[in-house]
């Protein structure tokens, strides 16, 4: 397929997706599908965003919960100060997430492999502790939030959040796809395979890492922002829960990180399974399944689902679509 016809197919798919999401909010009466669907869409955004740094560049960020929590609390603080509308909360969370990403990038410039991962875990705990001691947003006890009235054409707030998260999915996927097919993506792949060699051949590894950190972080925080309104409640230990990091890691690795479709598939598959398990059995079994699937996929299918579906990714990580 040529690049142009490929693009047309992609944007047509996006349009179909958006129309479907909108139609669903107008037609379906029952609220439950939106409650569950919101979480799945949220994980799609998180996984796609995570893969920009973790997949293309090979830097395993365990601080997904740090960015997510920062997004949640940016929204909470803004809402408490000025009652800012949802869109402003999300945009602000995105900006704060990018700044945090820049800080993480600068702090961890010379760390590779596990040191980078541990540093990101450390950062998450430090930020969580800071928020716990921040009285204005409720401290360790958390804070209750009153949803503002819902906007037209939606008849319930959850449906609106579902739609908003759907839009975020489109934004995240479009950015990931753009990066993957651009010089940035190729540079990131080069530095993943061999950072020294990439640097020597003139790839601006430092700049690319920072860009990847910022974009990935900004998207994760933006996806976290609506969570406060979704739950009508925010507390540090659930906003900064380590299971966000592990879920997102599992979803991305299960789907495969060489192509943006991988994390999307992984998040839909695992997210749906989690929703079903949480309803039918218990949340502990849910985490158990997550752990087992992560281990099984890392062991048996290192390239994830897309590696199984399309063997060519085994040879050449990252193709054009």
């Amino acid at each position: 397929m040529t690049k142009r016809s490929n693009s047309i197919a992609f944007w047509a798919g996006v349009a179909v997706f958006l129309v479907a999401v909108t139609a669903m909010t107008q037609i379906v009466r029952n609220e439950y599908p939106f409650f569950a669907g919101y979480v799945i869409l949220q994980f799609v955004v998180l996984s796609v965003a995570w893969s920009i740094l973790g997949g293309y560049a090979g830097y395993v960020n365990f601080g997904t919960n740090a960015f997510f929590g920062v997004g949640v609390y940016t929204a909470v603080a803004l809402f408490k100060v000025s009652g800012a509308p949802l869109v402003v909360q999300i945009a602000a969370a995105g900006v704060v997430g990018m700044l945090l990403g820049l800080a993480v990038g600068l702090l961890t410039l010379r760390m590779r492999g596990i040191f980078f991962s541990i540093a990101t875990i450390a950062l998450a705990i430090i930020i969580e502790t800071t928020v716990m001691n921040w009285r204005f947003v409720g401290g360790a006890a958390g804070i209750q939030l009153q949803r503002p009235p819902v906007m037209e054409p939606f008849d319930s707030y959850v449906k609106m959040l579902f739609f908003v998260q759907g839009v975020l999915v489109v934004i995240a996927v479009a950015i990931a796809r753009y990066i993957q097919n651009s010089r940035i993506g190729r540079g990131l792949q080069a530095l993943r395979d061999d950072e020294l060699a990439a640097e020597c051949t003139g790839v601006p590894t430092l700049k690319l890492k920072l860009v990847a950190c910022m974009i990935s972080g900004g998207l994760i925080s933006a996806a976290g922002a609506p969570a406060a309104m979704y739950l009508q409640y925010a507390d540090p230990s659930s906003a900064f829960n380590l299971s966000y990091s592990v879920s997102v890691l599992a979803m991305s690795l299960i789907g495969g990180t060489a192509h943006w479709i991988g994390p999307v598939l992984g998040a839909i598959l695992l997210g749906t399974t989690q929703q079903l398990l949480a309803v039918t059995i218990s949340s502990e079994v849910n985490v158990l399944v997550l752990g087992i699937m992560l281990v099984v996929f890392v062991v048996a299918a290192p390239k994830g689902i897309i590696g199984l579906l399309r063997p060519r990714y085994r040879l050449r990580a990252g193709g054009k679509t």
Partner: protein, 288 residues
């Protein structure tokens, strides 16, 4: 001033305990380069084994720790063999997938403990738990002293083992240059497997100390990811003396912050120090 002195004394006691829970990681991560994020989960698992023995058969926690040590040795041998077959043997991006693998294992252990024992805190009973010594103004719980003594013994023993015995030196040799060892006709994989077994065996005793010092809960391993990795990285990878020094620094820092600012800031200390060390001096205090 007395308060601060007390904090320092308690910090040293706590620090030696931290050394005992970290020496295993100092071998597995520091010497063998295995991204063993599940180390704290193994530790908590050991604590629950000790709890089980203490609760069911009324065995002293320290004796229980000794009983499970051989089991953990075998557990370590198996774990390394699996890790080796899946990751090190195949080579490519072992680090990234290795971390994910161990994280998955840690989560599985966490949930299995929850399913078996519930989310509540569990503690052990022994004659020395609950009493304390008084020194004028401040008191030192005897459980801390017991943990301190055993921890110091355990850490010294492992340090001696690594520096004086043939196998110990072989382990340090494999950390320095695997290829050279192979050229000498030794099998580096078997030595590493043995070393990983030792590193895991130490956790049997460390787990006993963990549950002696304070009650444990299934998700306790998350706090100890920070503490153990902080100690090991600050020590300089694989240095046993460094591990003890770094652990004492961490222990003193934690108790001082606890006395001055309160418990709510406690979780950030180990991770903050870890981050600072990683950013400023990644080779650690006594790096190789």
């Amino acid at each position: 001033m007395d308060l601060l002195l007390g904090a320092v004394v308690l910090g040293v006691l706590l620090g030696c305990f931290y050394a005992a829970v970290s020496v295993g990681l100092s071998v597995s991560f520091g010497l063998l380069d295995v991204p063993h994020v599940a180390h704290p989960a193994f530790l908590v698992l050991a604590s629950y084994c000790v709890f089980l023995l203490n609760d069911r058969y009324d065995i002293d926690p320290l004796v229980a720790g000794l009983i499970i040590t051989p089991l953990f040795f075998v557990f370590g041998l198996v774990a390394y063999r699996i890790y080796y077959e899946i990751f090190e043997k195949r080579g490519t991006d072992a680090a990234v997938r290795g971390i994910a693998f161990f994280f998955g294992i840690a989560f599985i252990i966490e949930v299995l403990i929850i399913l078996q024992f519930g989310v509540d805190q569990q503690s052990v009973s022994a004659s020395y738990i609950g009493k304390s010594w008084r020194f004028g103004e401040f008191r030192i719980p005897i459980r801390q002293l017991v943990a301190f003594a055993v921890a110091l013994g355990l850490t010294s023993l492992l340090a001696l083992y690594l520096s004086k015995t043939f196998m110990g030196r072989a382990i340090r040799a494999v950390a320095q240059d695997e290829e050279a060892l192979r050229l000498m006709g030794a099998n580096p994989v078997r030595i590493k497997q043995f070393a990983f077994g030792i590193a895991t065996a130490v956790l049997g005793m460390a787990g006993a100390l963990l549950i002696i010092v304070a009650p444990v809960e299934p998700t306790l391993d998350r706090a100890y990811i920070g503490r153990t990795f902080c100690v090991v990285v600050m020590a300089g990878l694989g240095s046993m003396t460094g591990t003890l020094v770094a652990a004492i620094i961490l222990g003193v820092a934690e108790t001082i912050v606890l006395t001055l600012f309160g418990a709510s800031w406690a979780p950030a200390i180990s991770f903050g120090m870890l981050l600072a060390v990683l950013a400023i001096r990644p080779q650690g205090l006594l790096g190789r």
